[in-house]
Point group: C2
């Protein structure tokens, strides 16, 4: 398989982490998150949104969107439960991550660390406030549950871990989130865990 990757992207890290835990070998092609001028040329036929991660299977077919990729890879493995309701809850949290969490926490981290032309500070602060709402929701849930769904490690944990564990790089103060802290430690101890730098 071939992964169109950025080493600093939490969305790409989700895919790398699961591939490591599944013991699947793959190639990487690194793309820049700052200079996206070659995205259409490289990804035009593979991903309608011209984004990374994009995974190309051995038969040449492609899958885009980080959470769709990890769902595909986790099928028939312990990282994706079989139960219909648990699967719906996994999806609920994957969509929460892409709609209410990533656009705030990942975007602020990008603006602060990587953006060639970040917006004014007032816009960054406004976006950061949305990130805290997502962290508040995650904290309420993890105060009651050891993992995101079904009391065991799954792709829902991988999806939420991707950007939560580097939120401080975007200036988010995680010290007030005790349940999130315990969950981050729990996820990092899952068998086969690798860091975002791997």
């Amino acid at each position: 398989m071939l992964l169109y990757n950025s080493q600093v992207s939490g969305n790409c890290y989700k895919v790398r982490l699961l591939l490591a835990q599944l013991g699947i070998d793959y190639e990487r092609r690194e793309l820049s998150v700052a200079d996206r001028s070659n995205r259409q040329e490289v990804l035009g036929e593979l991903n309608p949104a011209w984004r990374i991660p994009t995974l190309v299977l051995d038969d040449g077919r492609a899958i885009a969107e980080s959470n769709a990729i990890i769902w595909y890879l986790a099928t028939d493995t312990p990282y994706l439960p079989e139960d219909r309701y648990e699967r719906a809850k996994i999806l609920q949290w994957l969509f929460f991550e892409q709609y209410s969490h990533e656009p705030y926490i990942a975007t602020v981290r990008f603006w602060v660390n990587y953006a060639p032309d970040p917006p004014p500070q007032s816009e960054i602060e406004s976006r950061r406030a949305g990130g805290y709402l997502a962290l508040d929701a995650l904290e309420r849930h993890l105060a009651l549950e050891p993992f995101i769904v079904g009391r065991r490690y799954s792709i829902a944990d991988i999806a939420l871990y991707g950007y939560t564990h580097v939120a401080e790089e975007g200036g988010f103060d995680l010290s007030r989130y005790a349940a999130i802290h315990r969950w981050l430690d729990r996820v990092a101890r899952a068998p086969g865990h690798v860091p975002i730098t791997a």
Copy 2:
């Protein structure tokens, strides 16, 4: 089943459309999209993001996020294919919808029509530009395919139809999108189709 609903929400319409096509009876509880002050009180225990749609099953368990709900309802029906790769492509387009389409097209429609305190016109125009990028991607895909995935009607069509078919209410000019127009007609002719007002 009980659906926490807004009649004008395209996200809620996705669920109502599929429930109608599946012939499933359910109750509705209407919530305002303009005044969200009671969301925590009503949805606090059911949905971590305090959003609609939220579906409560007959046994009292809840599912949130429109695209997670329609995936759950479509399981073991013709609206969700069995093939592993087709399912990944369905998910890819559901995540595209929530990340690259809805935050632009639905948000601008909301600001223009329903928001009690919309942002400045410059911000609306900037957001509208993002919506056109999503429509461009959808047009490129639908120029090659009759439906979103697998050459047949599925929940991916329902998810993209939800806000695309009312994009003009947000000031989007759809006249330049011939393939999207043909696809909108195709979706509206699917058996059991109901309009957003139903």
